[in-house]
Amino acid sequence: MDQTLPLSALQHYLYCPRQCALIHVEKVWEENRFTAEGRLLHLRADSGATGRRGGIAEDRSVPLRSDRLGLYGVADVVELRPGPDGRERPYPVEYKRGSPKVEDWDRVQLCAQAMCLEEMLGVTIPEGAIFYGKPRRRERVVFEKVLRVLVEKACGDMHAMIEGGEVPPAEVGKRCRGCSLAGACMPGASARVESYLLKGLE
């Protein structure tokens, strides 16, 4: 892998590979309400370095990196929970503005964070949690084998796409409606240009 990519790229890739390519190959970026609010929520999580919550020590805004996955990023919160051997074990917690989704995206992303931590610290991390803003609820995520395979595969495919400088064509679907890059993507731009030109010249 020539380059490391931010963890958010993985999230975009899972949502829509074209969206990921628009951002990382074409370098388009459009802020909309959702990304702005997402940033605010993150700012809040960023507000301190370390602290304690209900007797559990936590680190906030923890830098992450994995050479194997080619990813870097920041974990919102990493709690330090006692493991079975009595030693403290990292437990990543991600904050999401929205509600839990049927798809695996958020879990894959959290698992990728855990895999980064594992590589950096030489530990095994069996689980973490996602905090959803709507409803305000914490969801446990177990980093099982299938999830880890999904992370590896998605990272490999994503890097191949971006290093190839490839922007896959739009696959118009339901997700386009909630897509912050629809303006740049123009999923509707597919009509044949030649017949359009002939019509314009009539």
């Binding site: 970026w29 123009m186 509707g188 240009v193 030109l197 314009g200």
Partner: protein, 343 residues
Amino acid sequence: MKKLLNTLYVTSQGTYLSKDGECVVVRTEDGEKHRFPVHVLDGIVCFGNVLCSPFLLGHCGEAGLAVSFLTERGRFLAGVRGPQSGNVLLRRAQYRLADDPVESARLARAVIAAKVANSRAVLRRCLRDHGDRVHAAAIGRAVSVLDDCAGRLRMPVDMDEARGMEGRAAAAYFEVFGHMILAEDPAFAFGGRNRRPPLDAVNCLLSFVYTLLAHDVRSALEAVGIDPQVGFLHRDRPGRPGLALDLMEEFRPFLADRLVLSLINRAEVRGRGFVRKESGAVFMDDDTRKVVLTAWQKRKQDEVMHPYLKERLPLGLAFHIQARLMARAVRGDLDGYPPFFWK
């Protein structure tokens, strides 16, 4: 969909622009202060002696705002662009196409097709609205020349033919352009296109509006990461924004020319708003320039139906859409460049 934002045009000499938080602070020489939040702007255009603090320039760059410096009369001097724009893969693809005569001719044909069709639409609209007040026969003759060009452009053409068609269409169109001017004022007599410097009020208006158009088109191209210098129809010449000129062609007739015509015909600009210099060059005074800037800004808010995407959008966004479609065509995602046909 991207939002249409405002462009801040600064024409008062000696104005100082600086940054305060997320705002642009505009301080005129007499001490007056205005503030504009950066997120409502898509660009700043400074005419003449206008100063900008480096922090403001940096902030604009980061926020993707184009800042341009023009002479007081509107000649482009320099632009400040942030670090984000510029996708090297897209630019490489663009340079490869520009080196390929067949591909260049294909793109040039699309650009000329829209210019011809849109010029013809402007003439037809004039015949429809003012057929009884204009020299209809002459305009009709120009329409048939454009019809002929349009017919020939229905087939692929090589670059020489494309340029030939461009020249023929422009000559026919500007020959009757003066007929579309309904104002009695002799200051607005039009004898043909001239520039650098413009020798009459109409040419002065046309040149100025083309400058505004060039600024917007160029910023749109830069925002999508394509090189505004390397064109297909307009070949490389140092300092010339070839691709911006290409992309401008389709907008000239219905956006720029019609704006000039309506400013004159509705008497929003007057002959006395123009000054003739010893050299014969004609310039507009400050008030006239403000009228034109306001009209330009207002025109960009008008909603149109995009003929290719079939979406309604403010005209000012059409530059960005066309720049993206051009990038799409350059990358080969589309089977050609779909220009903006005005109906």
